[in-house]
């Protein structure tokens, strides 16, 4: 479990707060979506968690342990992250080299490294591309490799920082399918950052952020119901939710349910 307690952060002192007293608990094995526009603070939150930004106010607890300078490096090994740009996080010269990169850094013995690399590529259906160079992959495939690279590190928490925003709809679907599979296995906590409400349906818990604050929090159904928060944060509802609000009692339902009830 990760707990943020009154987390506050400003990029330059005196300037407005990028994060303004954020308190949030993320349970092990959950899929948590953090939704908001650019500048809402969602990426700042991730950067702090990954140790890319420091000097924050407030407390972060990982499994009850308060994150501090001494244990940060160690605790950080439990997190892995996939960023937005598929090209700029591809370090290796080939698919398998990229997946192995993090393992090499952690001094994993070679035999184990080969095993874990293969397993991670298998998990994202990219094993047959193991010797491909990144220039021969689509954006969606590169993001799947990035997920494999993260999974190979066997993290407790997998963070996806707008990982679907730069790829085409097909690639997006593939990535979401893989996340669903990971979620089903139940070992890995998923923190999914997005500005697209159509991508959050699978999550257990969702948070809407705006100007550094959490303005709504709850299950996906509750989020879809919170019209005020949605309007304030200028988010666009998925097609079938719009229709169920317009034509039925507004209750949250899946597309198939909508077709059934109309």
């Amino acid at each position: 479990m990760i707990e943020f307690e009154s987390l506050t952060y400003s990029y330059r002192s005196g300037e407005h707060r990028a994060l303004d007293h954020i308190s949030l608990s993320i349970h092990q094995g959950d899929w948590v979506s953090i939704i908001g526009h650019n500048g809402s603070g969602k990426s700042t939150l991730v950067k702090i968690l990954m140790g890319i930004l420091e000097d924050y106010e407030g407390v972060i607890r990982v499994e009850g342990t308060v994150l501090d300078d001494e244990n940060r490096a160690e605790l950080r090994k439990r997190f892995a992250i996939v960023f937005q740009n598929p090209d700029n996080q591809f370090v290796g010269a080939t698919v398998e080299d990229d997946v192995a990169f993090g393992l090499e850094n952690n001094g994993v013995p070679r035999e184990e490294m080969v095993r874990r690399t293969e397993a991670a590529l298998q998990a994202v259906n990219m094993l047959s591309y193991r010797d491909h160079e990144p220039s021969r992959l689509s954006g969606g495939q590169k993001q799947r490799v990035a997920i494999a690279s993260a999974l190979a590190m066997a993290p407790d928490v997998l963070i996806l920082d707008e990982a679907t925003s730069m790829i085409d709809p097909e690639g997006r679907r593939e990535v979401l399918d893989i996340l669903q599979k990971i979620h089903h296995e139940g070992r890995t906590t998923l923190i999914f950052i997005t500005h697209d409400l159509t991508e959050i349906e699978q999550s257990d818990h969702a948070v809407i952020m705006r100007e550094g604050r959490i303005i709504s929090e709850g299950t996906v159904e509750e989020i879809y119901q919170d019209t005020d928060a949605l309007i304030a944060s200028r988010l666009v509802l998925p097609f079938h939710i719009k229709l169920s609000k317009r034509l039925l009692d507004g209750a949250y339902m899946s597309y198939d349910e909508l077709v059934r009830r109309l």
Partner: protein, 265 residues
């Protein structure tokens, strides 16, 4: 034009030459560079040519393909030939053109030196055609490892090389896109004076620099969050396997050198 440039290209394959340890290939090429100078008459040069042809065959490369690649450095070869043709004196005078003469020694030396140069280029080409840049980088890192004793950052240099290689296609794509985008905005790169041509490059270079810096920054963060902290405590995914055949290659190379040495006059 660039597509004809073979030096530095890699063609995947599974020939015996492809499968050799890249270290063996690099060392063999270095040995060959020395051996080439042992040849000093027809038999020696004949053997060199035969050697390269055999290698080409063993590497499953088409000789025509390889010699097409030589065309690009044809100018360099011709230049070398004519330099010696006109400047080396000795033997019988073949042509006397007044202020210049061509003498038999010049013709022979010209041919020898040109063959020598061509052989050197060919063997390097065969090496790069059969070895992926990544393998070459690995091999250079291993071979240069002793240099760490004198504080040469061998690992960092190798990593830098492999990341550069990985980003070359990405940056080529990017450059092409930017050129097209600016060209759609009416920018012309091929017209006007030199200054105006250079000015026309600004709209290409500035976006390219900006995106490259952004890439570098994001890549650095991506490497950091994946635990990169330099070479300390790092293991290696890629391993190079030195096998008996690799030792054999070097022994054969030395034997070939000895033969050339013995038959020299």
């Amino acid at each position: 034009m660039l597509s004809k440039m073979l030096l530095g290209r890699y063609i995947p394959g599974s020939s015996i030459i492809h499968r050799l340890d890249p270290r063996a290939k690099i060392i063999a090429v270095v040995l060959f560079m020395v051996i080439v100078f042992f040849a000093n008459h027809w038999t020696g040069y004949g053997l060199l040519i035969l050697f390269i042809l055999t290698l080409t065959k063993m590497a499953d490369l088409s000789p025509r393909f390889l010699f097409n690649g030589l065309k690009l450095i044809l100018i360099l070869l011709l230049f070398t030939f004519f330099m010696h043709l006109f400047l080396t004196k000795g033997g019988t005078v073949l042509i006397d053109g007044g202020f210049f003469t061509i003498e038999s020694e010049g013709v022979i030396t010209g041919i020898y030196i040109t063959i020598r140069l061509a052989m050197l280029v060919l063997i390097t080409t065969i090496m790069t055609l059969t070895t992926s840049p990544l393998q070459l980088t690995d091999a250079i890192e291993r071979i240069c490892r002793p240099l760490k004793a004198i504080r040469v950052p061998v690992h960092e240099i190798a990593l830098m090389m492999s990341i550069s290689l990985r980003f070359i296609p990405t940056l080529m794509d990017e450059t092409e896109k930017i050129i097209k985008a600016q060209s759609a905005r009416g920018s012309t790169f091929m017209a006007g004076s030199l200054t105006s041509r250079l000015q026309a490059l600004t709209p290409i270079f500035i976006p390219l620099f900006i995106s490259s810096f952004k890439r570098a920054e994001e890549l650095a963060i991506a490497m950091e969050v994946r635990g990169y902290q330099g070479e300390e405590g790092r293991t290696h995914y890629r391993v190079l396997n030195w096998e008996f055949k690799d030792t054999m290659v070097l022994i054969l190379m030395i034997i070939f050198g000895i033969i050339l040495w013995v038959i020299r006059q």
